[in-house]
Symmetry: C2
Subunit: 412 residues, 2 copies
Amino acid sequence: MRHSELFTKTRREAPKGEVSKNAELLIRAGFINKEMAGVYSYLPLGLRVLNNVQNIIRKEMNGIGGQELLLTTLQDPEVWKKSGRWDDQVVDVWFKTTLASQSEIGLATTHEEPLTFALKNHIRSHKDLPFSVYQFQTKFRNELRAKSGLLRAREFIMKDLYSFSKNEEEHETFYEKAKEAYIRIFDRVGIGEQTYFTFASGGSFSKYSHEFQTVTSAGEDIIYVSKEKGIAINKEVYKDEVLKDLGVSKEELTEEKAVEVGNIFPLGTKFSDALGLMYKSENGEEKPTVMGSYGIGPGRLMGTVVEILSDEKGIVWPKNISPFDVHLLSLPGGIEEAEKLYEEIVASGKEVLFDDRDVSPGEKFADSDLIGIPNRIIVSEKTLAQGKIELVDRGSGEVKMVDKAEVGSALV
Amino acid sequence: MRHSELFTKTRREAPKGEVSKNAELLIRAGFINKEMAGVYSYLPLGLRVLNNVQNIIRKEMNGIGGQELLLTTLQDPEVWKKSGRWDDQVVDVWFKTTLASQSEIGLATTHEEPLTFALKNHIRSHKDLPFSVYQFQTKFRNELRAKSGLLRAREFIMKDLYSFSKNEEEHETFYEKAKEAYIRIFDRVGIGEQTYFTFASGGSFSKYSHEFQTVTSAGEDIIYVSKEKGIAINKEVYKDEVLKDLGVSKEELTEEKAVEVGNIFPLGTKFSDALGLMYKSENGEEKPTVMGSYGIGPGRLMGTVVEILSDEKGIVWPKNISPFDVHLLSLPGGIEEAEKLYEEIVASGKEVLFDDRDVSPGEKFADSDLIGIPNRIIVSEKTLAQGKIELVDRGSGEVKMVDKAEVGSALV
């Protein structure tokens, strides 16, 4: 894409009232727009990153057999009353609204109840189990404080997967597969090293749930990390009994701030009991299905990447989720050659943002640093005089002068 | 995909209280689930169709230069007060809700106001114009009556594109391009023949807006069609003056019920004036941008296809939006061969739903008719005895016995 055709502009100054680093950088670079606290629109560059993140997650969810569907925002209270979660005292982040007929309805904070209820029309026998379904769907949570940019939004897309099994053993087999898929997702988006499999409270129906926590000073959670064992414990279950259970000692743990980028949760039969999602077993008994839920917020993940991988000049995107593979900058004396190279890179199947604007080299460099595409290619009178082009690695800052023919193989 | 792994089940009976044909068939076939009146979830088969429709629209919007973004549901009243559209007396389909801090906010019914406001950070000069942006985003409209299934939903995905031009002439050039793209979209989803370019009210700021109306008895609109000229007039502007303007006589017009599957609307400077989206012209004047809006509801389009192309046995999908290219049915004596053929069709890049279930041939045929995939392939003892497979065109009912090697070229 030509930068001259992209309608968004970068800004030098942080927007007023925005205190989070991720939102500040993403707004300045033209990736998102703040509609109100905790409510952000995705502009074209931001939507490209979001889609890249979502596609990585989608492939992994398909890989473990997940079937994609799309549930609704508007929620019928009757379904939620069956589980006891309609009450604002039980779930304190509901947005509620009113139909023209005056009945009260809600905006979904999560989807266990409507999904379990809908499946009663489709699940009858042990032959129908196990299976799992997932969606990328917008959730609404009426957070009192929303000052962490994309890390704590009032409106956000969530990938939520739900598994349905005949018994605990079958559930655990799937749970382990989902855990492995989650580890691959965080690796592929570029934050695998900073992300820990974390033991957290299982609520009233299982011993533990598990979170994926990424260490960053912007995090709102406190975790205790064992780097040696590659696991962590959420402060909420940081007790002698749990340490003993997991075979770790206080000495090997370090306290860190972290952001929860994913969670996986055994639900037991809580929702299938409450909503009546039963199946007929091989010997004819009616049994409740055993469920699990598995969440990742693609926007929060994007915000987390910005928090931990940006530098003083701007964002540094990992290559798997970058809005473009290459940022091509034409400088004076190199415009004609850059145009040719642009066509060649497009033809090679790479995604390229071509800064063909009539602005100063300094402005192009500053915008390129801020936007954060991993590969920068500079074509100028100077580089052409050497018969070369200049290739800059946005992350390391490393500069290489390469022959035009070598560009493809030299990209990070 | 193997039908044995698809979790949805078909139903013989229409769900209670569902009076619209499109919703009834789509629910019976397992494409959608009714959450409440006018609120439908998309199950895997339905999401496949929805994605196919969206991808056709996306390609056409990219083709006319649209840049994709994603705005939010939650809306700040301040922005809407500037245009006067916050008031429930002016816009009577608002859903409104309340932040934890007690401020009232709204759920977006459309996006002219927040988009125009956000663009103030990005548009400064005549050099920034023209351009257009679009999104696939969930809209909420608090309709008093919602009895037409996907044709009138309270929550629905809308593709809305907005154009920004320097002047009327530039606007009209784009408007014509958008119109042509819309015509291609309705052709490609399979309802081009039944869809008319329709003159409708332009509101307070232009002579006409234009709708794309598809003739169907399920429609809630009345239009007057000139088949000869390939245009129609919405009842709301069916006046002598308009007939004269368009050069049509009452005699050549027939009254039809129709559903509005798309609309394109010149907005003039209504929103740029109200919200201050100005640009600096070549000679330094501050001028308001000239806008247009262009909407299509992919779900409504899907419902319209079901209304007009289904038959007494079920749905008939046009091939461009069908959830699968091929429905492969293995019948007794043909199971082993069907397994081989399944692998071959998958390897050829076609999308295939393989009914490998252990159910009666009658049940497989009935489900296949209901689900409506255009190509049905039957492998049974009988077909194999002839050294052939049976290929059925779901639309015409035509049956062909073909050699296995010829299957690829014989598909509709």
